[in-house]
Amino acid sequence: MSQSYNRGLVEDFGRWREFSAGMWAWVFHKFTGWVLVGYLFTHIAVLSTALSGPAAYTGTIRTLEGLLVVRVLEVGLLAVAVFHILNGCRLLLVDLGVGLERQDVSFYASLILTGAIVVASVPTFLAGVSL
């Protein structure tokens, strides 16, 4: 073979329309995992304002929680966390070799449950914030 033709990336994410359940689960799990670590670092950074004293901490949190954007982002975080947890449980089952034939069903179930939990939590998450 003198030469060969490499088709490059078209064949990977260019094919997203053809992804199956397992592939989507992986993409979402990856995305949510990265968001969660990102949040973990931010979270500790914000909380460590407590090191500069009670007033600084309470002030920072109150200001942040008073912002609608922050509250909306928190709903997003909940969605991300719930999906990661539910799909994480799905993955743990897959690792144990349980229900592999139904892994697509359990992925759809994770999605639906995530949606339901998030919708149900919106009032609580947005409570006490003024526009």
Partner: protein
Amino acid sequence: MSERYSSFEPGGRRWLWQRVTAAFLVVVLAFHFFLLHFVHHADEVTFAMSAGRMETLSYYSLMVLFLLTATFHGVNGVYNALVNTGLSGRQRTAVKWTLVVASVVLIVQGIRTANAWAGISLV
């Protein structure tokens, strides 16, 4: 054929710990969300309330363990994702140590914060 695989580090240990921490995190993360958004509300957070919780040894140790496992799980997940893409050699070593340093900073900062609430002063 075996020499094609440069690394003999069996990824199995990290794989297992990723699952073990995941199983622990399911419970603790759900508890954490529930406690701080449903039992207490986001707009009522105060230093005193956080301090009140942290002064209990069981809560304090649970939160430190939460921090440790979440950091391991999250950072190891990121590292793993990069290894999956075939990251190797010097680049890989650099990424690895950057992640280790970031984790240590995160854990130290987290514990200092928890200590501030719990009223523990080390230095």
